[in-house]
């Protein structure tokens, strides 16, 4: 029986045992269940929505579950122009996301301020949060977003997850330096 199963893991031959590195196993699980936090701030968010739709189908990569609650998400996709007024909110939401977490700067505005060289616009979201992947374009096509998200998957696969789990602090943000949501009067 020459099926392609013969070339992969075969429980009849190898028993109920898989040999791998813990890092690899954890990263393999993580990279196929990225839960994006859609930080949709301008027209890039429309392309982000297109990527979520059936035509471009981001669920092929296991990241279709977009959560608008930062507590339930682990990859913030900053898609759009970040004004200084909104920058405060972006950082607070980032701080509310649980570790491990990643940030994608989608499009020219999120990456560098884009064409908005103005008094009101933050010149690149990397001034306030650590960015893992930048995607060029104004706005980028959904394929470009998918390409960026696959880059994130590659990056997740390379992470020293066990070491990070033991350190429990990937981004080295001391507790007193995180932000708290302002009290609403």
């Amino acid at each position: 029986m020459a099926t392609e199963n013969n070339f992969a893991y075969n429980s009849k031959i190898e028993g109920d045992l898989v040999v791998t590195k813990l890092d690899t196993a954890i990263n393999w699980i993580r990279k196929h269940s990225v839960w994006p936090m859609p930080m949709g701030l301008a027209c890039c968010a429309i392309e982000l929505m297109a990527a979520g739709g059936s035509r471009f189908d981001i669920s092929r990569f296991g990241m279709e579950v977009m959560r608008f609650s930062p507590r339930q998400a682990d990859c913030m996709i900053v898609s759009g122009t970040v004004t200084y007024k909104m920058a405060e909110v972006v950082r607070r939401i980032y701080d509310q996301m649980a570790e491990p977490k990643w940030v994608v700067a989608m499009g020219a505005c999120a990456s560098s301020g884009g064409m908005y060289r103005s008094y009101a616009v933050l010149q690149g979201v990397d001034r306030i949060v650590p960015v893992d992947v930048y995607i060029s374009g104004c706005p980028p096509r959904p394929e470009a977003l998918l390409d960026g998200m696959i880059k994130i998957q590659d990056k997740i696969q390379r992470e020293p997850s066990v070491k990070n789990l033991l350190d429990r602090d990937m981004h080295k943000a001391p507790e007193k330096k995180t932000t708290t949501a302002p009290a609403h009067a």
Binding site: R91, M115, R117, Y119, A120, I128
Partner: protein, 207 residues
């Protein structure tokens, strides 16, 4: 532009003058009569819509420096009128609010206050609407550079968490940036109007 309405307005409100206009009838009125002019337009002339509130900064060396602009429309007569009122004070410009006559004026006046710094006397909630509350400048004034001025970040704790982020002047790099109006669509990415200079290589002085 000739208009019977503007002539009637000038006769009725002392100090008002005809205002040059290419499109709709327009009049200059003294700032202290603005409220009664608006009341008259609304109650007796049928101008039930306030379409726009804005202002002009004529630059620092001109007096009066600020002019408030109001566009009224009538949904019954289908006509428009533009009213302009000069602010008396050039340093702390002030105008009466129309928010009590036209609810639409509320946010418009907040925006004009936010960007040009005109205070509207009697406004129910004169806060900034676009920039954050602690922002120290009025960005549409003539002396304000497009790139902005270095200031503190809106929230101090966010600035600290982000490693001392500040509001910095945007690198203009030959900007402002806009898409060219001609040429192939594929070559119309937004670009600087004049790319011969940037922050490192200053603009050549051709005077």
């Amino acid at each position: 532009m000739e208009s019977a309405l503007v002539e009637e307005l000038i006769k009725k409100f002392e100090g008002s003058t005809q205002r040059e206009s290419l499109d709709i009838p327009a009049a200059n009125v003294p700032a202290d009569l603005l409220l009664s002019v608006a009341e008259w337009l609304r109650n007796e002339q049928g101008f039930d819509l306030l379409m726009d509130v804005t202002a002009i900064d004529w630059s620092e060396d001109v007096s009066p420096r600020f002019t408030g602009i109001y566009h009224f429309a009538s949904s019954t007569k289908h006509n428009y009128i533009r009213i302009a009122a000069d602010c008396e004070d050039d340093v702390e410009p002030e105008l009466p609010t129309l928010a009590k006559l036209y609810p639409a004026a509320n946010w418009h006046e907040r925006e004009t206050y936010d960007l040009l710094g005109i205070r509207y006397k009697g406004h129910p909630d004169l806060r900034r609407i676009l920039m954050w509350d602690d922002y120290p400048y009025f960005p549409l004034r003539k002396e304000f550079p497009l790139a902005g001025i270095e200031t503190e970040f809106p929230a101090a704790d966010v600035a600290e968490a982000a490693g001392g982020a500040k509001v910095i002047p945007a690198p203009m790099m030959g900007g402002p940036f806009h898409a060219p109006q001609t040429g192939a669509m594929s070559k119309r990415e937004p670009r600087a109007a004049d790319q011969s200079w940037n922050e490192e290589k200053p603009k050549p002085n051709n005077d």
